[in-house]
């Protein structure tokens, strides 16, 4: 009994990726500090404790770590079998959130369930389950990935993506697209199918813009980064203020709590999507580069795991996570610096928000899971 227990607990845990977990926790810690800084003025105005947002984020992180532990506890191959159930459940929730009266409308999209004082964003969780589901499907048909299978795989990706677009949540839809494309690439879809798929997506995107599927503000936001010197009060306001904040940080930053753009609340959504501007302004290039390096560490460890494992399912899961993080980091940080269009995508572990934080930890849990069981 004791022997078995020792084997069960010690063997996989011995291969725990400490660097990965450590980097993740470091980023979360920095996130809490920056959220405090970015909400200092806001909380004063709202008349709540200055720790209101930090405390809540702390709760999310704790819940996230617990979720991560839970995901790590079960052998990921078991998760593979459970993937369809999770996936279908998510699709159901994505449908439910669109039902008037069930989902809550906030900031122009119907994307959340109100649960008491908290809100649940099913689209965030969709990332996790899509990674599992797609990995499982590709793994199952790894030796026989014909055109029909490609269609099914695309349908698996397309269904939640379409539902998310209906909310509408363009940012998350793009993340799901990136995850899907990366995983299909690794999953064995032939080059020419991938090329065709890319063409279809590209044409579809152009059609979406021209046929008015996207709302005008979405088009404006997506294209404003192409023409950045228009005016500081219009569409480019966010972008300008964001760039100004980062640029005023300089090499070493204005100091924690000293950012004038941050204290003056010049950057909208600074504690959520634009959290990187607080880092840039108050901690400067040194802080921003350190954060990017920590993110790089997380992605590198995940990529390394993808290569270390002998199991295609594990590789696919890791690649899905890489795609998700990389896309979110590049898009989020890129938009604050004016090299990517502005879309509402949170910065993993940094942005204030429960669903996002928990899902990010869950994904790290998947990677750590693959990493520590790669020999078994």
């Amino acid at each position: 009994m004791s022997h078995r227990r020792a084997r069960l607990l010690s063997t996989p845990l011995r291969h725990l990726d400490v660097l990965l977990i450590g980097a993740t926790l470091s980023i979360s810690g920095l996130g809490m500090i920056m959220i405090y800084s970015a909400t200092k003025a806001r909380t004063r105005e709202e008349g709540v404790s200055s720790l209101y947002y930090v405390n809540r984020q702390g709760i999310w992180i704790v819940l996230g770590v617990l979720t991560m532990a839970a995901v790590m506890a079960i052998d990921y191959r078991k998760l593979r079998d459970l993937a369809p159930i999770g996936y279908l459940g998510m699709v159901f929730l994505l449908g439910a959130v669109l039902v008037p009266g069930v989902g809550t409308i906030a900031k122009g999209s119907q994307a959340r369930f109100q649960l008491g004082a908290f809100q649940l964003q099913p689209s965030e969780f969709t990332k996790f389950f899509l990674i599992l589901m797609l990995a499982a499907y590709c793994y199952l048909h790894r030796n026989d990935f014909g055109l029909r299978r490609v269609f099914v795989a695309v349908a698996i990706c397309g269904l939640p993506l379409a539902l998310v677009m209906l909310q509408p949540d363009l940012g998350t839809a793009l993340v799901l697209g990136a995850i899907s494309f990366a995983m299909l690439t690794i999953g064995g879809v032939r080059g020419r199918y991938l090329a065709i798929l890319a063409l279809v997506v590209f044409t579809g995107a152009i059609g979406a813009v021209n046929l008015g599927v996207l709302k005008q503000y979405q088009v404006d936001r997506l294209t404003s980064f192409l023409n950045q010197s228009r005016d500081t009060r219009g569409t480019t306001y966010n972008l300008d203020q964001s760039k100004i904040a980062i640029a005023s940080g300089g090499l070493t930053g204005e100091g924690l709590g000293q950012g004038t753009q941050t204290n003056g609340r010049f950057v909208p959504e600074q504690h959520t999507d634009f959290i990187f501007t607080a880092v840039g302004e108050e901690l400067g290039f040194v802080g921003g580069a350190t954060l990017l390096a920590l993110f790089g560490l997380v992605v590198w460890r995940t990529w390394r795991t993808a290569r270390l494992t002998n199991d295609l399912f594990g590789t696919l899961v890791c690649v899905g996570v890489i795609a998700m993080f990389t896309f979110q980091i590049f898009e989020n940080v890129g938009m604050t610096m004016g090299i990517m269009p502005i879309t509402g995508i949170p910065l993993p572990f940094m942005s204030y928000g429960g669903s996002s934080t928990i899902v990010c930890f869950a994904c790290i849990g998947l990677v750590a899971n693959v990493h520590m069981r790669r020999f078994s």
Partner: protein, 646 residues
């Protein structure tokens, strides 16, 4: 792991690496390589400079009494960056409260002259209960503030308004004329008078407060504060007591004249119109302005905090005879017989006449051509007159002869051909006196060159290009095309009175700081010395004494009963004919003609448009002013119906 997948995972790795490199590069570019421009934008974002205007210096009279100071007014201001939705509601309530309209408030707010971060005043001198209401209902009036502000005040109302001038918000033109950044939009600036000419002394230096603000414009902290430096006080040479007497005498004379029949108009019954006039009192020993009055007048207080449109329109309505005009320096008139002083000096200086030269005055001269008959006022024959006599009775014929003689010189190209014009220019006519008040005009001394020029320009109005005998004859008695300002007339008489020094008129004697310490002294400024042989001066003074002191003098009646034994006095009447109008009434007095070394000497000029003969309306004013100057009981003003001697 499948081999193909391994390659693809590597590719993913490369893609990820490239993306991270892009982020690092962009971050470096923004923060380290090219950050200055954007960092400056952050400063522009968060730093607001608020101006704290400096209180303007006071204007004092010669005895230190305040003529202009500042008062604290309760001003309601609105923050221009108010949210448009909130704005509508706030404006509606505010309009109701201040008794104005939303459109009016909108107009004030869209006034581009005020910097966007300076609150815009929408109500001045708001009643205290309105202020209290706004204070109590702060939440209903976001962006609205009630604050005390220094507003320029002229406690004596319209008294000396033309000398003082007024202040107002700087306009684009004025701002462009000043050194860069010296003034901000919305700043107050002296618009005319002393307020304008002593702007530098009076203005002071406004304070600046640099504030760090948040996105909604709320102040996070004060970065730096510079206290405003109050402006300096300017002490004028003006004596309020004399100014008061001058203005009231002028006003009273004009009112009385309008009720007096003008007997010189024969074909219909008409009173003097007397629409406007002015009085100048100079201290002849220093050239200082002791009083300067112009009527009609205005109250400079109406300009404080923005002049109402209607008031401004009234000021510019011809029917009101332009009250903003300072006629002492901006009115141009033919001086009439007061100019005989100049002709006398020209005659004496060139040797054309001596004090004893006599002329047989038959009442007219005749050149023997059409229109060549020039006569005395009322066609009176004065008989044989010498120079003093000619001045006393104002014999035109005596001076006609001088004018005719000089024309002969002109015709022969002799150097004395322009003797009258030369003498006039020597005494300051034909050029601004340089008193330093804006808008001063230079008048006109007509000569052959001038006539040729106007003929070339408008042959229809001036059919003759040549300088004709009649031109010079008219000039000799201050008629024709000669134009002078009352101040020029005063400075010319002053020069003769003081023995030959032509001064640039002085308005202020010193500039004082807040603690009344002297910052700078403004000394009298002699402009030129005019050669004045004692014999010539004595003869002229005798003639001018006679004009007021003799029973047969032109102003003898007006000065009847004046105590000449204790107050020696000389003077000259002037009556200028103006085509299509009643005569201009002019009078100049010198008191005393020969002062003791420590005794002050004054020159007083009064001029009334359409006021009849010099003795009719102008002389009574001058008598009153002199009585005021030397502390005699004031004589009631009686306007003569029409005197026959000018």
């Amino acid at each position: 792991m499948i081999e193909g997948s391994r390659v693809r995972v590597s590719i993913v790795g490369v893609v990820v690496l490239a993306l991270f490199c892009a982020l690092f590069a962009r971050l470096w570019y923004l923060q380290v390589a090219g950050g200055t421009q954007l960092a400056a934008a952050a400063n522009a974002n968060r730093v607001r400079t608020v101006t704290d205007p400096a209180p303007r210096g006071r204007i004092l009279d010669a005895k230190g009494r305040e003529i202009a100071n500042n008062r604290v007014a309760n001003v309601v201001t609105i923050d221009r960056r108010l949210d448009p939705a909130v704005r509508k509601k706030v404006f509606a309530e505010l309009a109701l409260l201040l008794g104005t309209t939303v459109a009016e408030i909108d107009k004030r707010l869209s006034d581009a002259r005020v910097s966007p971060y300076t609150p815009v005043p929408v109500g001045i001198d708001v009643p205290i209960d309105t202020l209290a209401y706004i204070a109590e209902h702060k939440d209903a009036f976001p962006g609205v503030r009630a604050e005390p502000r220094a507003v320029r005040r002229y406690p004596l109302g319209s008294l000396a308004s033309h000398v003082l001038g007024y202040v107002g918000e700087i306009n684009e033109q004025e701002r462009a004329a000043k050194p860069k950044n010296a003034y901000e939009l919305g700043d107050e600036i002296g618009k005319s008078g002393v307020e304008k000419s002593f702007e530098k002394d009076l203005r002071g230096k406004s304070g600046k407060e640099r504030l760090e603000i948040d996105v909604q414009g709320r102040v996070l902290k004060t970065l730096s504060t510079t206290k405003p430096v109050p402006g300096h006080d300017v002490q004028l040479t003006l004596d309020l007591d004399v100014q008061n007497v001058a203005e009231s005498a002028l006003a009273e004379a004009m009112t009385t004249a309008r009720q007096t029949h003008d007997a010189s108009v024969k074909d219909k019954f008409e009173n003097y119109r007397a629409p406007a006039g002015s009085v100048v009192v100079l201290d002849a020993k220093t050239g200082s302005v002791v009083a300067m009055a112009s009527n009609p007048t205005y109250d400079p207080n109406t300009f404080a905090g923005g002049i109402p449109t209607q008031t401004y329109a009234d000021y510019n309505n011809p029917e009101n005879h332009y009250p903003l005009l300072n006629r002492a320096i901006q009115g141009q008139y033919a001086p009439g017989s007061t100019f005989k002083l100049v002709t006398s000096l020209a005659g004496l200086a060139t040797g054309r006449i001596s004090p004893g030269t006599t002329v047989d005055d038959k009442g007219f001269i005749d050149l023997g051509v059409e229109g060549g008959r020039f006569q005395n006022a009322g066609n009176v024959a004065h008989g044989t007159v010498d120079l003093p006599n000619a001045l006393t009775v104002s014999s035109d014929v005596y001076f006609y002869e001088i004018g005719r003689a000089f024309w002969g010189d002109f015709h022969r190209n002799a150097p004395t051909g322009n003797a009258i014009q030369d003498e006039a220019r020597t005494l300051g006519f034909g050029a601004p006196t340089g008193i330093g008040l804006s808008g001063e005009v230079k008048g006109r001394v007509p000569d052959s060159a001038w006539k040729a020029a106007v003929h070339a320009e408008r042959p229809d109005a001036f059919p003759y290009a040549q300088w004709l005998p009649g031109d010079n004859i008219n000039l000799a008695v201050g008629q024709g095309d000669l134009l002078v300002t009352p101040l020029q007339l005063a400075t010319a008489y002053e020069t003769v009175a003081n023995g030959g020094t032509l001064f640039t008129p002085r308005l202020a004697s010193q500039v004082l700081d807040l603690s009344q310490k002297r910052v700078r002294v403004i000394p009298p400024t002699p402009k030129a010395t005019v050669a004045l042989p004692e014999g010539a001066r004595r003869a002229i003074m005798a003639g001018l004494r006679g004009a007021v002191q003799d029973a047969k003098g032109t102003a003898g009646t007006v000065f009847a009963g004046f105590p000449f034994a204790q107050q020696d006095l000389a003077g000259k009447t002037g009556t200028a004919q103006v085509v299509g109008k009643q005569d201009t009434s002019v009078f100049v007095a010198i008191n005393p003609p020969d002062p003791a070394p420590d005794q002050p000497q004054y020159v007083v000029v009064a001029l009334i448009e359409e006021g009849g003969f010099g003795a009719d309306t102008a002389a009574p004013i001058v008598r009153r002013v002199i009585e005021g100057l030397v502390g005699l009981p004031l004589t009631p003003i009686r306007i003569a119906s029409a005197t026959t001697a000018d």
